[in-house]
């Protein structure tokens, strides 16, 4: 008799990729492939918009873009104000690109290797985006306050200058943690989503005698999970873009604001 206990025995491995050596570096070809496809999708959608955009009555496609840009613009205006105009392209690209990548999870079947895995379920892409954001945030902070002001800022708040040591300690920890949390939040959500699909796929082997209970249950569970996962993908893309805007806000805010 095959029972539920056997499920526990299933070996679901993580971090499996099609890899290739590029000199001293190992690259995950499936992730690169999926990233390029996602990038092509976004770039194509963007270029189609560019060629079709009209100042007259917009179509649904253009309206969707306008809605996205309008939402990002409003968020930036509300948080940073007019100075934040340069953040809009970054935040918009992050949202659209991450959302597209996350949607690839809908195509996943929970196997060891996917044809088109969500590139955000691998740590490299979230890390690349998070570091891009953090580097640009620090650059904006230095531009805003000057190098001296930028360095002084770490020790001048949130407590009175007498406690500069504590201020510096807290701020440096915060700055170091930011890229890590930004990366792991996105990666963890998508990685867990993929893992969930693997678990649901593994359910298939659960049989009660000849009755394929697991196979029957697996299908509705997978459908429900994928719908839920799409929402998670949208939310994570939104959070990543929103946090980017907020980090720029703290970097570009005048000192008195703290």
């Amino acid at each position: 008799m095959v029972g539920p206990t056997q499920l526990i025995g299933i070996n679901i491995s993580v971090g499996d990729h099609v890899t290739r050596k590029l000199g001293p570096l190992t690259v995950n070809m499936d992730i690169i492939w999926a990233t390029v496809v996602a990038g092509l999708v976004v770039v194509t959608l963007g270029l189609v918009l560019r060629s079709r955009a009209t100042s007259g009555v917009p179509g649904k496609f253009q309206l969707l873009w306008e809605f996205l840009v309008g939402a990002v613009q409003k968020q930036v205006d509300d948080s940073i104000g007019p100075r934040g105009a340069k953040v809009v392209p970054l935040a918009l690209t992050l949202f659209v690109f991450i959302f597209t990548c996350n949607l690839f999870e809908v195509l996943a079947i929970g196997s060891k290797l996917e044809w088109l895995p969500a590139p955000t379920s691998d740590i490299n892409l979230p890390l690349a985006m998070a570091l891009t954001v953090i580097v640009l945030v620090h650059r904006a902070a230095i531009k805003n306050r000057g190098l001296a002001g930028y360095l002084k800022h770490y020790f001048a708040q949130p407590f009175p200058p007498k406690l500069f040591f504590i201020n510096g300690f807290m701020n440096i920890i915060e700055e170091l943690v930011r890229p890590v949390t930004l990366t792991l939040r996105l990666f963890g959500n998508l990685f867990a989503g993929g893992l969930m699909l693997s678990l649901l796929a593994a359910l298939v082997i659960w049989k009660l005698g000849p009755a394929p209970i697991g196979a029957i249950l697996s299908m509705p569970f997978t459908v429900v999970w994928k719908l839920f996962d799409m929402a998670i993908g949208a939310i994570q893309a939104f959070i990543f873009a929103l946090l980017t805007i907020l980090y720029f806000d703290t970097a570009m805010a005048p000192d008195e604001a703290h």
Partner: protein, 181 residues
């Protein structure tokens, strides 16, 4: 191409490639897509603003025309009233003048009639006095039985005529005063 299981929390060379891919996407969106979309949005904003301004202008024009129309209507009404008032005044003037003329004609006729009456009475009186002398003389001749020379008693006759005339003139003056009233 190999299949490998590695620590999924440790980034590897993939990082560089996907970073480049992301930067390319960012560049395309930031340089080609977003500016175009912003241009389009600004253009549309301008169009809508222009249309709203045109609508405002048209509305203002219509209001101005309406005000003008009302003013002209009011002016026309005032003119009409003036014309009617003028016509009324003219009509009143004509009526008054006609009445005055009528009164004058009437007065003239009455005066002429009065004058004729006076003249007729005087003529009658003259004739009467002339005849009275003759009648008195004839009567007196018969009474005394002989001819009386009118020349001999001229003084007496004249006195009698004067008395009669004075009497008749007093009656004529009273008559004319009554008729002119």
């Amino acid at each position: 191409m190999t299949l490998a299981t590695s620590n999924f929390l440790v980034p590897n060379g993939t990082f560089i490639v996907v970073l480049l891919a992301f930067l390319v996407v960012l560049g395309v969106i930031g340089r080609f897509v977003l500016p175009r979309l912003n241009t389009v949005l600004t253009e549309r904003q301008e169009q809508i603003r222009g249309e709203l301004e045109a609508a405002d202008r048209a509305k203002a024009d219509a209001e101005e025309a309406d005000t003008e129309r009302r003013a002209m209507l009011e002016q026309a009404r005032a003119q009409a009233r003036e014309i009617v008032a003028h016509a009324q005044a003219t009509a009143d003037g004509i009526v008054t003048a006609a009445q005055a003329e009528g009164q004058a004609v009437h007065d003239r006729i009455v005066q002429a009639a009065d004058a004729e009456v006076v003249i007729a009475r005087q003529a009658a009186a003259e004739e009467l006095t002339a005849r009275v002398g003759e009648i008195v003389l004839a009567a007196a001749e018969q009474v005394i039985g002989r001819e009386i020379s009118a020349d001999d008693h001229r003084d007496l006759i004249d006195q009698a005529i004067a008395a009669v005339r004075a009497e008749s003139e007093g009656a004529a003056t009273a008559g004319s005063a009554r008729s002119s009233r």
